[in-house]
């Protein structure tokens, strides 16, 4: 048997720090900092789902936003396929906007209320494939709607006509529009009814299988993460306190904080 070199991880986060200054005093000078993310390292392999769990304020959303460059890291390196992307300028980062996408938590505010569903999902195509005709775009968006379980009829509807679950499907279709490889799911089901949560999680799993996607799945609820993740990171106050496979975390939690989170999971 030959020694197979393992493929490099799709995403690698090394010693990531994101500090936000606390402005104070008369001159609004930084008088201190909030360590939202404090020296966090982890990797995500292709095709995997990594769960990122913690209470609100633990820094998990900040990690997601740092990866997608909605927040500037203070220190540390984020690499995608061995290429350090956190240091690129915005023009050089542009190709990665097609590879890395995000799904937001709040289905009510994450869709522009003035845009039709076609415009919301098609915007990414407009930006990244300027040569595409409108008819092609409509065709592609209709295909995406089909993929996420919505109808072609919905193309010219507006967000306020949809339920929370349907809106979240639109959000997923928007993320899928550019054929991404990696999706940051930033608490995609936290704002939804329990019955709808399962549908969305199943949809995400089906899409992962079909399209070979990789997820960083952020949640404050271990139950949701356990269901979908291969690997789970538990965060508390900006640091990762426990990292293990989903079963290991669930059956044999090592850290007090993880146990506390687990005890909050409703037992069936």
């Amino acid at each position: 048997m030959t020694n197979i070199v393992p493929p490099p991880p799709l995403l690698k986060v090394e010693h990531l720090k994101v500090y936000f200054p606390i402005l104070g005093g008369v001159f609004r000078r930084p008088v201190g900092e909030v360590k939202a993310v404090d020296d966090v390292s982890f990797t995500v392999n292709r095709g995997q789902t990594v769960g990122l769990v913690g209470e609100s304020g633990s820094g998990k959303t900040t990690i997601g936003r740092a990866i997608i460059r909605l927040t500037q890291p203070t220190a540390g390196v984020i690499s995608y396929q061995d290429k350090a992307i956190s240091k690129l300028d915005s023009a050089a980062f542009r190709p990665y906007r097609k590879k890395i996408q995000i799904i937001f938590q709040d289905p009510y505010n994450s869709l522009n209320p003035r845009f039709s569903i076609f415009e919301i999902i098609g915007e990414a195509l407009e930006i990244h494939f300027p040569a595409m005709t409108r008819a092609d775009r409509r065709e592609r968006v209709a295909g995406l709607l089909d993929k996420v379980g919505l109808k072609r009829d919905h193309l010219d509807r507006y967000p306020h006509e949809f339920s929370g679950g349907q809106r979240q499907r639109v959000g997923i279709a928007r993320a899928l529009a550019v054929n991404p490889e990696f999706i940051v799911c930033d608490e995609p089901v936290s704002a939804l009814d329990v019955s709808v949560q399962a549908q969305i999680v199943n949809l995400l799993q089906d899409l992962q299988e079909e399209l070979g996607l990789t997820y960083l799945f952020i949640a404050h609820d271990l139950a949701v993460v356990e269901h979908i993740s291969d690997y789970v990171l538990v965060m508390n106050q900006g640091k990762i306190v426990e990292a293990a496979s989903a079963e290991a975390i669930y059956e044999n939690p090592q850290h007090d904080y993880t146990r506390k989170l687990l005890s909050a999971v409703p037992k069936l």
Binding site: G24, G25, V26, F27, R28
Partner: protein, 329 residues
Amino acid sequence: MTHYIIRRFLLLVPTLFGITLLTFLLIRLSPTNAALIKGGGGEGGGKAMTAEQREQIVKFYGLDKPPLVAYGNWVGKAMRGDLGNSFADHRPVADKILERLPLTISITGSALILSYFLAIPLGVIAAIKRGQVVDRTISFVVFVLYSIPSFAAALLLILFVAGGDYLNLLPMYGINSINASEMSLFPWLWDRILHMILPVVCLTYASLASISRYARVSMLEALSQDFVRTARAKGLRERVVILRHALRNALIPLITIFALELPVLIGGAIIIESIFTLPGMGQLMFQSLDSWDEPVIMGITVLAAVVTLLSYLVADILYVIVDPRISYE
């Protein structure tokens, strides 16, 4: 909060510099200046001056200096509390302003107080009778009042009640009758009140409209609050609920609006003072603008700016004190 207030105070400094610099440069930008108007070379007409004389005047008033140097001089003197002398009559600007302030404050002040006294009951009644005929009538009348241009109202009032071909109940112009200096205290006071009625009415009706609309909204908001419902549920009489619980809370936002009205108190109303020939701040500003009386324009601008900026600050601070949900830290 303390830090916030100090910071806001410090931010007043660049703003004040900006206002005074802009005003100063604009005055200097204009091809007309005090010397030209005095000399009759401008649109003013009158006896024209020789070029030499004009030169002398220009030099005398420092109008030949580069604008920024002149501005620097002005700032230097203003910092020491010296606003300079008027070009028109060479009296200190501060004196000219001080002698006009009492009149302006008495007129705009009475109008402001009067409009609050009328507006709050109107707004409260409209809110209590929400959607009924009373509310609609009040809202409509207030809306019409709000849209009447004050100068047209002033003209018509003068025409019909003050010495035109119609009624002659009130004096038309000025702040006192010609023989006022011979009057004893009470007739003098009565005479002054008669002169103040029309200007105060004109200033009152417009602000009455906006304040009563604020009062109505604020009262409606208060009436929909939980504590009012609780008070009702406790079986308190409606009058008690409205006066003691709702009204008290509804008044709070109106205090902050009051702060924003303060600049008008100092600045006066140019149009109303000009129609009724009242020697107030508005008229002083108008006259100084008309004759490019630079030191007076600058003096009034600084005073008005300080009062305006401070009242914004007071309004913001009152906001925080009144509503603990808002924080500026």
